[in-house]
Symmetry: C2
């Protein structure tokens, strides 16, 4: 036996390595970080090894269970507390949908289940492109184009999901409909209406074709929106202006962790829903600590039902996130136009059809917003010596733009120093228009299902509903929903010269059915409170939902598309936290009958009082198009705000200073 | 006779002078310009000559009849087409109210009528100050203060209008209530509740006094909001940022005429309502001409009913414009905080108690707003070669801040290149709070009429309603109101796989009662159209009201204060144009029973179809205070938008270029 000569170096090395391994997980990832390109590749490699002819439809983080994350957070543990970083993939092979879970840390497939329920996964871009090219080689279609005197090389086709209208589905089918380019990039204004092909996506072939009627294709004139194609410009009077931060931004981005002013949160990209804000906490300067506000917030689903009953239109009732991927459709943001000059950009990664990761550069921008607005102010003229105190409002914005075919959705998550989280959704891009023989409104005899926006062009009526999944954890995860009714009291006993006043009657929602709410008149305030904590003077600690852009449902509740987009039945819903209830219209949306929706989940009428609850807010727009929307739509915005309501003991921005003025010297421009 | 030697020079001189006189009126004023200081002085001189001991309550332009202005505009005549520039004054003398019209051009009193109806004119600042000082020399009040152990020199009193609760009024009375300063500028948080004096304003003496109950005065601690009084600051992480326009602003201000991008309008200050936007027209680049949008737009009245029934509170149901003057209460805007660094300022003038003009410097700011928002965009990824077109949104803002005692109203009129006029009202300043024995919510036994926001401090519930007078002249003055109902159609005949869809059913409001509308669900769109004009493809030319911040009435319609603030019964009203119907709660508001209101005018149920109509929009907030509102309120905003709806044949900003980027060189900061 060797004499003992001191420490055993190989043992020390072993423990050292173990230590590093325990403290620093691969890449130092946060448990909620999205999959990295190398992790996406790892998923592809593992799955393509075990399956042949596999196509990828979704790959994302299978986020750790919430209690684990909360416990990890509270103990301030290293990220690798989560020994197993798990990926979740939805793939198709052999005309079957597989749900696969992969342990990235041990590089193993944990589970691989065939999904045999209704509905199909998200479409990938590549199969849409392939399906869109099929008509161009399909003789009956070629004949249709020829019959119309059009040039096949100028035809471009797009894929439309077909919804579900009671059929027994045995195949992944989509409708393919076409546009005429010929002299404009704005082919959306030139539908070749009346022709529809149906494509089997798995077999990638046309299974049905119909050339139903000849409708004039609208002209290309005046449709192109590119700056280079405008003959004259009108804004020579607008002089240049810019936003400058000579000392750089006030926020830091460390991996996916963002810190700014009194806020910190985690920002991740997901190919299905786009931006996910997690673990948003706000620093309380009186309590000297960060306090929880939102565990996870994202756009859970979109529902865009068109209102045209014709054969090529009635089924256009899109659920954009679950059908096309709101994240897949995100576009690279243009510096200085999509975001102001002071913005910082982040990239996003998603999985393509064959599993290869694709990068969307500049998928998010993060910037400080100063619009000249006022955070708080007062001029005191009554006291001797003028007191005027004004604080300009600087906020932090996270922006993504998702271009789902014709429509551009601009999504802003805005954090305010006052504690508010404001979400703004702005719509631009192109209308979905229908070709028509009409060149003037006076010719219209039957229901046009829209507005004549130009000759031969009907802008079809539709609605947009966005479901926001807002897993609020107001100062802790056990929360309740309070409906604060502003209630009129009639005075009849002559006790006051007044005959009425209003008071606040608070009602705590006990179960899910109590929390299905249609808003509108402003007489009910929606507050999420932590019933286990009080302010110093005894108020419930809470956050109030200030609704905006309310649009009620206009379709019958038993109509097929409305069953699928049933989250639009109410402006507000509350569910108890359930990791599997992420997407308000279900996991598998394409051609699904709407069995796995927020409306169905809440039928169980679970308890929601003093539980870990999720607030779902439905933002809506009804859009009866106008000529100003042609050929491209000026932005229309709507949103909502989550505003502290007795969360703080007092105004949290009282002590915020006016940012120092910028004094440029020696400048020339 | 002198031989003819050429032109007669004296005759030429005569014609030359005549010509100048005709073309250039005094000061080159626009017919809608507010009265200048010299004109205000002229009014004072004339009135004080004919009346003794006169006090001034309102002096403003008696604007020329609308047909005259329109005809003047259409003929492109010089301003002095209006030979008689008329001032309208409301004064008090000998305990009577006089309405006096003065021809400024001929320096003559045109008419002088005693008003003997109900209600009294606006209070002037000086009488409020005088009334507020009365208690301080009133022995019973001094005794009350002593009894409470307070220091009289730290007491400050304010005037409160008392509304009307069925009394027979014979005098101009106000309530005077007091606050304790002692160590804070935020005396609003320190009411000395339970004491009330009633003052006869004409006699300027206390006519009633009551010390009803002793209530603790809330502490001064943590109430001061001045930057210099904060011990620590929290925003060291917010770095400075600025907005720069190296080549200056893109707008011009010529007198009161503002031109910017495709807009031109006239901006005037009025001591009662603040900013008045007149003759707003937008340039149509397809038609090569300016087209009318709004003849006159302003805040007609505000209604702020509090919801506390106690003796010192029940009557606090203020009508701020008609009682205190929303313009009088406007405060000088602070450069770089109230408005961004690129703002340009304008001054305003009003009449004080003795008729002397007073100036409010920087009463308006005008600035171009760039918040990083997008005017329109699209990314086209389907066509070969990426097409991305994005236009940042630069708008023009007119801002005024009116501080009506504790509350600060920030009013923005925003003009967009897309043709929208967006109005935003933001509320800041201080809550009206009530002293209380309670230091914790658990102690509360009876209805507190509010929220305990700090120890001994109840933030009283209240609502804010703002009535916007919007005399739209959409492409001409004969307009109609269209209610576009988004109507669900149920399909039962199996003609479609769909069971329902929505269509648009337009209803033209024929009379005033058709146009009293409560909004909320978004299922009715409000459009003002010009039924005499069509777009090329035959749509009615119109502008749509996009409502925001809807708050319905919560008081009973027959309650006194609700009769006075009855404009809040509906979100939308329409009246035929009538020069005398300017102020939604009437001309004489103070102590008036509400006989001269929008609600009363519209009982005549006049025809409004294809007439020169005025749209009245009621913006509202219900405010159940929160601790975050203490000791000063973070801004809460709401607004509405007037958006072109088939006004243009197509997107009016299609050809707007991206402003040139600013490239600074040689800068240091």
């Amino acid at each position: 036996m060797r004499p003992f000569r001191g420490p055993n170096f190989s043992l020390i090395l072993f423990f050292l390595i173990l230590h590093i391994f325990l403290l620093l997980p691969a890449n130092g990832v946060h448990p909620l970080d999205p999959l990295t390109p190398s992790e996406l590749n790892q998923v592809r490699t593992l799955i393509t090894k075990s399956h042949q002819d596999v196509t990828f439809h979704y790959v994302g983080l299978d986020e750790p269970d919430k209690p684990k994350v909360l416990s990890w957070l509270s103990r301030n543990q290293p990220p690798n507390f989560f020994h197993h970083r798990i990926a979740f993939a939805i793939v198709r092979t052999n005309s079957q949908t597989h749900e696969i879970k992969i342990d990235l840390s041990s590089n193993l497939i944990l589970s691989d289940k065939v999904y045999d329920g209704d509905g199909y996964p998200m479409l990938n871009n590549e199969e849409q492109t392939a399906a869109g090219e099929l008509p161009l080689k399909y003789p009956p279609f070629i004949a249709s184009i020829k019959k119309r005197g059009l040039n096949l090389s100028e035809v471009l086709c797009e894929v439309f999901t077909i919804g579900w209208y009671g059929e027994k589905n045995t195949k992944r089918a989509v409708a393919v409909m076409c546009y005429y380019v010929d002299g404009t990039v704005n082919f959306y204004m030139r539908p070749i209406d009346g022709i529809m092909a149906t494509v089997d996506l798995d077999k990638m072939k046309i299974i049905q074709y119909r050339d139903r009627l000849m409708i004039p294709v609208p002209k290309a004139d005046d449709t192109d929106y590119r700056e280079s194609k405008q003959d004259t410009h009108f804004d020579t009077r607008i002089k240049s202006m810019t936003i400058s931060q000579p000392n750089g931004p006030s926020f830091t981005i460390d991996g996916n962790n963002v810190r700014w002013a009194n806020w910190k949160f985690h920002l991740a990209f997901d190919m299905r829903v786009g931006p996910i804000i997690s673990l948003a906490s706000i620093y309380d300067h009186d309590m000297h600590k960060y306090r929880k506000v939102m565990y996870r917030g994202y756009i859970s689903e979109l529902f865009v039902p068109y209102q045209d009953l014709s054969e090529e239109w009635y089924f256009r009732t899109f659920l954009d996130a679950g059908e096309f991927g709101f994240g897949i459709c995100a576009v690279p943001l243009q510096p200085s136009t999509d975001c102001p000059p002071n913005a910082v950009f982040m990239d996003g990664y998603y999985t393509t059809r064959d599993g290869t990761p694709a990068k969307t550069s500049n998928v998010f921008c993060v910037f400080e917003r100063y619009a000249g607005d006022i955070m708080w102010r007062h001029s005191e003229t009554i006291l001797p010596g003028d007191t005027v105190e004004v604080r300009p409002d600087v906020t932090l914005v996270i922006r993504m733009v998702s271009t789902v075919a014709n429509y551009d959705y601009i999504i802003d998550w805005e954090f305010k120093q006052s504690g508010s989280i404001k979400v703004t959704t702005s719509l631009s891009g192109m209308l979905a228009v229908k070709g028509s023989a009409y060149t003037h409104k006076d010719q219209i005899q039957e229901e046009p299902y829209g507005t004549i926006v130009a000759e031969n062009t009907i802008g079809t009526r539709h609605s947009h509903f966005l479901s926001f999944h807002l897993d609020l954890d107001i100062d802790g995860d056990a929360n309740s929903l309070v409906k604060a009714h502003l209630q009129t009291v009639r005075l009849t006993n002559g006790s006051s010269p007044r005959k009425s006043y209003w008071k606040v009657v608070e009602e705590v929602a006990k179960t899910e059915s109590d929390a299905k709410i249609r808003l509108g008149t402003g007489a009910t305030e929606i507050i999420v409170v932590n019933p286990n904590k009080k302010t110093k003077v005894g108020n419930n600690i809470g956050y109030r939902l200030i609704p905006g852009s309310l649009a009620g449902p206009l379709l019958w509740e038993d109509d097929h598309e409305q069953i699928r987009g049933a989250f639009s039945n109410y402006n507000v819903w509350v569910t108890p936290y359930n990791k599997s209830e992420k997407w308000a219209a279900g996991v598998y949306i394409d051609q699904a009958p709407g069995d796995d929706t927020l409306a169905k989940w809440t039928l169980r009428n679970r308890d929601i009082e003093n539980k870990d609850i999720v607030l779902w807010y439905t933002l809506g727009f009804h859009h009866a198009p106008q000529q100003e929307d042609y050929p491209i739509m000026p932005t229309l915005s709507g949103g909502f705000e989550l505003r502290p309501a007795n969360f703080f003991d007092r105004n949290p921005v009282l002590k915020v200073k006016t940012p120092k003025p910028v004094k440029w010297v020696n400048c020339s421009a």
